[in-house]
Point group: C2
Chain length 324, copies 2
Amino acid sequence: MTTASLIAPTIDDIRAAQKRIHGAVERTPTRHSDTLSRITGADVHLKFENLQYTASFKERGALNKLLTLSEAEQKSGVAAMSAGNHAQGVAYHAGRLGIPATIVMPEGTPFTKVKHTKDFGARVVVEGATLTEATARALQIARDEGLTFVHPYDDPAVIAGQGVAALELLDEVPDLDLVVAPVGGGGLLSGTAVAVKGVRPAARVVGAEPAAADDAARSFHEGGLVPMTDPATLADGLRAQLSERTFAHIRRYADDIVTVSEDEIVLAMRALWEALKVVVEPSAAVAYAAIRAGKTQSRGLKVGVILTGGNVDLDRLPWAANLP
Amino acid sequence: MTTASLIAPTIDDIRAAQKRIHGAVERTPTRHSDTLSRITGADVHLKFENLQYTASFKERGALNKLLTLSEAEQKSGVAAMSAGNHAQGVAYHAGRLGIPATIVMPEGTPFTKVKHTKDFGARVVVEGATLTEATARALQIARDEGLTFVHPYDDPAVIAGQGVAALELLDEVPDLDLVVAPVGGGGLLSGTAVAVKGVRPAARVVGAEPAAADDAARSFHEGGLVPMTDPATLADGLRAQLSERTFAHIRRYADDIVTVSEDEIVLAMRALWEALKVVVEPSAAVAYAAIRAGKTQSRGLKVGVILTGGNVDLDRLPWAANLP
């Protein structure tokens, strides 16, 4: 495939996704924060994707993909791999739509995440020591059983769905100078970058990534895809690596990718809880961490931040004294 | 004073307070919760007063009081006593308005609460082993220095301000069958009851109180003020006792007061965090705890719940294994 053929979705695809998923996912609130603005010297507006029903933006892409399947494909069912939010997004909407769903979750996935996914009606297979192994297993099940594999990010329909959050954000705050989103596999950042450049070309789009999982930052700055499988970061939603497709989008549409340390993530997460009184997961704090740590050149600018999710184990908060 | 003379504020006073404080406090969001509705069998609508700037409804009453002072009184300054949210509410708005404020906080008040209050420009005096002792000290300072004492609840202007939250809630969801609010000193419940009965007389108003601090429930059911000073409950915002004034309002306008155990408070608090992805303090979970525990006869009804505040020590969450 050429790079050009990898550039899907376009802004029109994201607009179509917006219509397609309308009413079945939350139009989450956008709020300005005086406190975070004072701390950072930027004018900070936050998009609360943690307030989706399954508490993350992942529903958007999953649902858009499910709704673009043929009737026969919907009837046969879907397979997916995820240790968390994508699993719940696929399971919830597949269950709602009556589409059979099989979700492979890696060994070591917390019991409550497995339970939530099962509660939505999905068949859950816990297998694979790593994301890579679990993905291989899910692909095998999909082949063996004739299921459509719903990739967490390497799919134009999924990327288009994720981009809808940025359309809503710009609808609420049209004159943003900068939009910052976390990057793991790159689905959200790809959709966000296409959406922002399509609606407001003057705005910059910056991805924020844990330094401990910096394949996207390295790929972006070195100009070629740098592989990195299953890195260790507290931001468990960002352990995936870019695909050729997401890399092509990010290379073309994003302006920069910056990295933050694990400590910066924890401090930002706690600051968000304290200042906004919201529960966000470590991955969701990475974008604000980058702004807070001065990595995004955002002083004096009107900045939009996507708070991606709120699924966190309340018994194991990263600042608690009893952490292992 | 006769009981009749104690009935102030009226609904007109609350409407006047609404105009007076408009724009200087948040019109906090109201949200429906599918999850909590499914759990409780009620149609649950929540008012997020934890999203006020100082993270509690207390700002409303404090500001309304400050704005009803004469110019001379404002110039002389105010005194208040509070271990938490009232302190921040008074300090923040006094600071904003250029009114000198002295806040007495009891010994043992967490350092961060003292610091926040000082950061708003207030003079903080840490004195008194109990709320009662600290109140006595604050009254003495007010007398000695010619300051106006801003009571946390035993004041018509404060009660009127607190009632504005219920006006906003009914504005968003006009056909509520039931409104549940926590009760400590009774300021919020008094204002809420007057507001609800003034706007929608058909709706019931129920106060929810920790069983470990049940002076309001006992007073309500026994028909006379039952004193109880400084009880021990996790819901630290609800340790105050009713005054003659709040008791008179609650007796006349509230339909019931129910109690919940400490365990029920912790379970409700955690459920709110998990389902809504918001940070609420133990006191703010008491109203939902009563619904969740089946104390409010709310099955099948459209219920409004005031989530009063979000100031909680993230290092000492009540479900954490490392609690002392």
